[in-house]
């Protein structure tokens, strides 16, 4: 963590939107927007995720800090878009990025998905949000959008177990989309993600960025 991201971390944990904005603007004055995201936002969000995993901060702080970051990052990126000619617009890290999608399987509790989506967007990734889906609907969307990495959030054990059917169905696609799972059942059973055929598990939102990095490295 850099001093800047330490400051942002403190502002986010205190849900101090104004201080967070000030810190980002200070760094933005001498750096490109994507540098601000990489040097400040991403480390702060990863640290908050680590703290939640260790029991040192609460889910409400993870969610609210993610909301703040998503809002501030959108401001940064919209400035970039306004400053650039359309033909020269910097597409950011998305140019070579994988096609990402996220969904909740068989549940109306969307919090986990929203947190992870926020972390991804705050780190500059584009991610398609499929909302709540059943297995059939999710496979169809993944096939249609040619998704390369699918993030699946579940709340209840039966839905977590249903991921097995999902991964089996996705195996029929070529290339096979990789699947990252997360949610409460996986936090109480270390081996569940392997049992259901996932490629990785994220026990906190902060883990999702390193996991993406690992999957991309392995696939390249």
């Amino acid at each position: 963590m850099s001093p800047g991201s330490d400051g942002l971390l403190a502002a986010l944990l205190a849900l101090d939107r104004l201080q967070a904005r000030t810190l980002l603007r200070d760094v933005r004055a001498r750096s490109a927007p994507l540098d601000v995201i990489e040097r400040l936002v991403r480390p702060a969000l990863e640290e908050i995720g680590r703290r939640w995993e260790a029991g040192d901060c609460a889910l409400s702080q993870v969610y609210m800090s993610g909301r703040i970051c998503e809002e501030l990052v959108e401001e940064l990126l919209s400035e970039t878009r306004q400053d650039s000619e359309p033909a020269d617009a910097d597409p950011g890290p998305q140019a070579q990025a994988p096609r990402l999608a996220i969904a909740v399987l068989e549940d109306h509790h969307l919090l986990g998905k929203q947190i992870v989506r926020t972390v991804l967007r705050a780190a500059g990734h584009q991610v398609m949000d499929y909302g709540r889906q059943d297995v059939d609907g999710l496979v169809a969307r993944v096939r249609e959008d040619r998704i390369e990495i699918l993030l699946v959030s579940t709340l209840m054990l039966p839905a977590a177990l249903r991921v097995r059917l999902l991964t089996e169905r996705l195996c029929a696609l070529s290339p096979r989309p990789r699947v990252i799972v997360g949610g409460a059942p996986y936090r109480f059973d270390d081996g569940l993600w392997r049992e259901v055929g996932a490629d990785a598990v994220g026990l906190s939102a902060g883990e999702v960025l390193p996991i993406l990095g690992r999957l991309l490295e392995a696939g390249s």
Partner: protein, 356 residues
């Protein structure tokens, strides 16, 4: 089938529980196994058909207690039940608890016009009350009947969705406060209706108050005060249950809520909780119901021993799972092994703990 099965020389389940809640050592550690949907399996019914008739749930609870010899009858149906009273829907499935449908509060502005439902107007709540009456008639005061309410602070997760609720809590304090007051009135009426029907204790499910969900300072300003106000108006002792959420960081505050016990997480250190709670607050927990799916009988025995060793001495401990509901996928053999292990290792004075 009678709900009371005390053998000669043993305490009844009610005596066992009350002794432990009084921070004395009963004949053995009380076991609150809390199987719920498993009653459908006992009766050969689908989960939807099982919960459709109150006498089926009563029969299921009695059969489960006869099978596993645990120390309570549990009138919990499923977490989404209360939202039916608020106008919500429930989605049944064959392999787990019914889930809540689309939230009943679509926008924060809806709270301005919201009114609390009356218990007597809700067919779903009336089914639970009938189950409670049937079980009370069978139990004859010898087996505790545990009713359930969702806390006013946690119910909005189902009423409006988790994310919108957290945003409301942090950004719209007046609407948040109005919703809490409505939910408190409903919670008290619902809890006391269960007591009037024969429930001896109320399990006050409040996962949002856990340190997994909100930090200690937020809990002090919200869930703590709400619990204190609500529990004071319930006409039976209450256990505050965090449904797998962590509680160690707030446990010093919990005796002041008025709760007599807390349901604690597998992710918490049971021994550390016991140190803080000894003589002040009883503990319920903290077997991991999710991993229970894979346990061998030997693992079940080891887990039961570990929990009893950490928290059993001196009473003030009830063994149970950490979530308040055993998953459908847990094999019957594992539940039987848990019960056998409590019988073998839960007999006071727990001399084996001292030897180990």
């Amino acid at each position: 089938m009678n709900g009371s099965t005390a053998s000669h020389g043993d305490m009844t389940p009610m005596q066992r529980l009350l002794t432990s809640l009084g921070h004395q050592e009963p004949d053995r550690v009380p076991l609150f196994l809390l199987p719920v949907m498993q009653g459908a399996r006992e009766l050969g019914l689908s989960i939807a058909d099982y919960f459709a008739r109150p006498e089926r749930v009563a029969e299921g609870q009695l059969r489960l207690r006869a099978r596993y010899r645990h120390d309570c009858l549990y009138t919990f149906y499923y977490a989404a039940l209360e939202t039916e009273a608020w106008g919500g829907t429930v989605l049944y499935r064959d392999d787990g608890p019914p889930n809540a449908g689309v939230p009943v509060i679509r926008r924060p502005e809806d709270i301005d016009q919201l009114t609390a439902p009356r218990v007597e107007d809700s067919p779903a709540l009336l089914r639970v009350l009938e189950t409670t009456r049937l079980l009370a008639a069978e139990a004859g005061g010898e087996v505790p009947i545990v009713g359930v309410v969702m806390s006013p602070f946690s119910l909005p997760v189902i009423q409006m969705g988790f994310g919108p609720y957290l945003a409301l809590m942090h950004e719209q304090p007046e609407r948040f406060e109005r919703l809490m007051r409505l939910n408190e009135e409903f919670c008290v009426a619902w809890g006391n209706a269960q007591v009037a029907a024969g429930a001896n204790a109320i399990c006050y499910f409040d996962p949002v108050s856990s340190s997994t969900i909100v930090p200690r300072e937020r809990f002090l300003a919200t869930g703590f005060e709400i619990a204190r106000r609500t529990l004071a108006r319930l006409q039976a002792p209450a256990a505050m249950h965090f449904a797998s959420g962590r509680a160690l960081k707030i446990v010093d505050l919990l005796p002041d809520t008025g709760a007599v016990a807390i349901g604690v997480s597998h992710h918490d250190d049971l021994g550390a909780l016991k140190q803080v709670c000894r003589g002040r607050l009883s503990l319920l927990g903290n077997l991991n119901g999710i991993s229970m799916r894979h346990w061998t009988p030997e693992q079940a025995e080891a887990e039961v021993k570990a929990a009893i060793a950490a928290a059993g001495r001196g009473g003030g401990f009830v063994l149970g799972d950490n979530h308040g509901e055993i998953p459908w996928q847990v094999p019957d053999e594992v539940l039987a092994a848990v019960s056998d292990a409590v019988e073998r290792w839960g007999r006071y004075p727990l001399d084996w703990c001292r030897r180990d």
